[in-house]
Symmetry: C3
Subunit: 472 residues, 3 copies
């Protein structure tokens, strides 16, 4: 490697065509400092309730990021050596310097990946590092970051302000008390950190601990969930509570976007069967499909924006799941059929002007075939941005290329970072803003749109659409 | 917005790379004035039989274009306010100026969409408008167009000639008398407007009014369609009649491209069951699959080019269908399996040198996986161009990128506008010609083909391939 | 056509953007002369055992290339007129000059296709032709090549050396004696031509002649394949024999990548049923899925890299198959579900550090949705390069664009030519190297990676990754 100098080119990720680059740069400068709206993510709210210094670089940048250890694992680096905690409490690497070194030794794996781009941004922009992370520089950079983390400007709340975050939504279970959110409010700190209502662990009959979760739901809601009606009332009450805590949206992670309208009697029978521990996979599928309908009904009533994140087969690698638990990089997408699966829900609620239904996918084949045609017709439906593996430079461009012509820009909802790695937030938004500006610059240079239209769109995509669709 | 000036850049839609742009421009100038061949579309032939002035701008540009009101509806604009007629005769907006204003207010929705590109072309090139359509300019432009429509050069036949249309094929049912086509012939006007034979409403057992359609088929053909044999003879006779009226092709809109060879006894039994009102969905599926085979057989015999347009779930939004009827922007594509579904038909007729079978899709995933490999092997099979939602700037490029390497250019059939909006015809052909020239320019600049090859291809794609494959 | 001059531009296939072109050119010069590694292909080893002069241009360039006659057939040129031998021994064109002329007459069909690009490279670089092949030049070029083939530098072994091939792997059945490979070794010639173990004709119960193949397997292995255990031992022994002949890999062509772990009793029962001629399609599906598991187990034990090539419906055109046999251009891809189908195999062996499992596809939809996420997690799994119809200029770029961000570059295995047309080998590698350099140049110009990273990657993609993953 050359001088091991870390350089972030100011015009990175724009087209190398000089005409397009110039326009992209112009557009980017009009949006790069807009506040960040984070309508959906997985940052732990306790971070801001406690506002303690980040312990060390590994804790800050490596441990919460399964994108990182996933790639190293794929090249034969054991999970244990990266400090991933074992379910059985068995030994894993505890020396954070050693973990940092291992990651540094493998930085070449991230060439051309979003993880690589985000990490460079975090090191350079957030933490002031000016050398490339690699075998030789690992310890020097570790020390530099350690020192930085001791500074007040790197406390979680200070970072939040430094990142210019206007709203940050976490994702929370109905049986969560939202204690950290309450603590933040009571602290007097003005940072707007709100919950999102994600009921999968009480609506998916196959969820781990479903039965206990239902008891907890009864307890927290004050509604007896021994009947289907009580269960529905409990969910309604928890949604109302989440709204009082600032929530503006719900989220639903489902294997497929299958929806179905069951009679109350049928739904109640499935629920009772599940309470008795006798529900099978097909019961669960039907009940989940029915509960998506119920959730849409509640959203029509209470105005919470509804998000559906389907199409991921979780914990594909059973040995890793058994040893390390969920969210370890072994969730694999599957093909999805939105046209048929969403038909019942869209027929019942898709024409509702008050509903905002945001659909995500990791199956790109559905962009031009299904999602853009659906979003370009149903008033309630909007397209979530390129998600998860597709939240990346090439894939975000493909998202625009395959959805804009049929759904337009205005049936999309802006950028959503969906991250659990807090310091990656500005990096992710910056990448998305750069890519949208690049796409708009291309349309402008090719005389598809005029410059003033591109200027308006740049701000809409970076800020206004998220604000509107998530009711911030 | 700046000065609200409408500018159509002469090099729009070409690459912004100067080398490619220059070649694209050179190629485009060699094809832009070639006559238009329109082998498949939905323009109403009565337009030319009557040759009455277009009543007003809204009637000309908005009402026949479900692309337009589809997008506005997706953003919460009621169908009624756009003047879409209700099935029950209930109230809808009757003031065409007000409808025009609503559309103008929402022009930003069409940024980056083909609808936006076509509309700009129509306004500028066909109607002489020089201001951008928007809230402020709506009424001024309405008046300008109204005045223009009163001029003789904007009568339908004059437009047809002005557009330099060499052949325009409509799409017609076997139970249509083709009276407007006859009237056009008898009028002595030389415009070549021909029918295409589209028998879906008598071959799909589930079609609305199928039973009455069969009676009408008996009547028009003089063959008793009370038996399967009579029905087949009736179809053969209607095809023969269409040929005398100039038809060179048939068209088949089917949910899937499933084909199957049934025995005559089996087919006859299904037909009888349907006559008795007892056919179910599976019967219909089998019969439709069998009738595609029969239609291919007839095409081998009578030489009509056969088109299949599969993969669209019609009227996905049942409330809209109930209130406003079909073709209201709520048809949604589904995934298609050509490899298996077309196998029986291609095995029986795909090696026939006399057959031309043109396959369309809106499921892009099949381009490189199925359609290009099939068209690159079977002599009878050709690829229709990017269709419907894919008839757009980005998607046309993807069509070439994913089909050319395996099927070559010469297994495609040129551009097909498939429009019901008459004034959009030159806009659509112009966009397609620009994009093909752009793609050829890219291949030339990257030294994949030589300039003389690109020049020959440009003319073949713009004109010769349609002429050959549709036997004009 | 202009002067009919054949020119191969030195910067062909690079981006026409001058900045990217310059970087691509720089990278390409660092890899263009690296030795060729050919880990998987279908060149006949007897070519090198015999080392006889190629008989004539048609025999060299046309007859072994079903890409060529496939395209001509699709445009109505009969197979017989291209000299494709008939199974029944019936008449086909025997005049090789006439066949050459027919192909030359149709060269326009190959514009923009990889076949066209490869052929130009072969003519220019391998055979010294300087005129474009077309109707007028056909015979002159035929004579020129005929003369060249008489020269010692165009003998097969001389070509092998001239092409700078370091290793060439053929693909061979377990019931092949590998006599030509033995002959090559015994000849004292240093060219490294090794076999790969492809057991489809004994693991697919529906394979033609399966029963006789099993007898032959018994004979060659010295293990009685009248029992399942004997059959497994026989396969293990044949693998061991292939290893002694230099094999480093196995290959498995299957309709789907379905895998399943059967009990030994169940597998044995299916095997016995097949021996009795009573296995049906479902038995075969299960047994094939089980044998993929067994093959993975053996690879864990003996270290052979395991390749799976799924998703092709062979011999789609039954009339052509009946008349001319397999590999005649009528194999058509189908949609594949890797996420579910590979789950059993990856769960059992995917975490094995010693296993290298290379997965190929012709269903591009799986790149970003399934294959990159799987390869970016499981240590054993790697992505094979763009294959068959996708081994082409546009499709190779799509491969990088849709896999790199999630799987990285280092979970891919370099280029694999998979050809039966020997003189196309340098052409294919050159195209792949150019395209990889182009992609890296784009990343560099857009500041995604630095130039020194691109330089390292260029060599890794062109040489090191194949060397490592195929254990050369």
């Amino acid at each position: 490697m050359s001088a091991n100098k870390l350089v972030l080119h100011p015009q990175r990720y724009f087209s190398s065509n000089s005409e397009e680059r110039k326009i992209a740069d112009h557009l980017y400068h009009s949006v790069k400092d807009l506040p960040l709206l984070c309508p959906h993510g997985h940052v732990d709210p306790r971070l801001f309730a406690e506002n303690a210094p980040f312990p060390d670089p590994t804790e800050l940048l490596i441990i919460p990021d399964h994108y990182l250890f996933r790639m190293l694992y794929s090249q034969g680096v054991p999970m244990e050596s990266m400090g991933v905690p074992r379910r059985d409490g068995g030994a894993t690497e505890a020396d954070h310097r050693r973990i940092w070194q291992i990651v540094a030794d493998h930085m070449h794996l991230f060439r051309g990946t979003p993880t690589g781009m985000w990490l460079k941004h975090e090191l350079y922009e957030v933490l002031g590092v000016r050398k490339r992370l690699c075998r030789e520089t690992a310890m020097e950079i570790y020390d530099q970051i350690s020192a930085a983390l001791a500074q007040p400007e790197n406390l979680p709340r200070a970072m939040f302000e430094r990142f210019n975050i206007q709203v940050l939504s976490t994702t929370d279970s109905p049986i969560d008390t939202l204690a950290p959110h309450q603590a933040i409010r009571q602290s007097g700190w003005a940072g707007r950190i709100i919950p999102a209502f994600r009921p999968d662990n009480v609506t998916d009959l196959m969820a781990a601990d479903w039965r206990q979760n239902i008891d907890r739901l009864s307890e927290l809601s004050g509604e007896e969930c021994t009947s289907y009606r009580g269960y529905i009332r409990a969910l309604e009450k928890r949604r109302a509570f989440f709204k009082t805590m600032g929530a503006t949206s719900t989220d639903h992670g489902v294997l497929t976007p299958f929806t179905v309208e069951l009679s109350e009697a049928k739904a109640a029978a499935l629920f009772t069967k599940a309470l008795q521990g006798q529900a099978d996979a097909e019961d669960s599928r039907l009940f989940t499909g029915h509960m998506l309908m119920e959730m849409a009904r509640m959203s029509v009533e209470d105005g919470l924006t509804m998000q559906i994140h389907p199409g991921v087969l979780r914990n594909h690698n059973e040995a890793i799941f058994a040893k390390f638990g969920p969210d370890k990089g072994c969730d694999i997408p599957i093909a999805v059929d939105f046209t048929h699966d969403l038909k019942p829900l869209l027929n019942r609620f898709g024409n509702e002007p008050g509903l905002t239904l945001v659909i995500f996918t990791i199956d790109e084949t559905t962009y031009s075939r299904e999602l853009a045609p659906l979003a370009g017709h149903y008033p309630a439906m909007k397209l979530g941005p390129a998600w998860w593996f597709l939240d990346s430079r090439e894939a975000m461009l493909r998202f625009r290329r395959t959805t804009t012509e049929t759904a337009g820009f205005y049936n999309t909802v802006g950028f959503i970072d969906d991250t659990r790695a807090f310091p990656s937030i500005p990096a992710r938004h910056d990448l998305a803003r750069r890519l949208d500006c690049r796409y708009l610059a291309e349309l402008t240079a090719e005389h598809v749109i005029d410059l003033d239209e591109a200027e308006e769109l740049a701000v809409d995509l970076a800020y206004n659409l998220a604000k509107k669709n998530y009711k911030f």
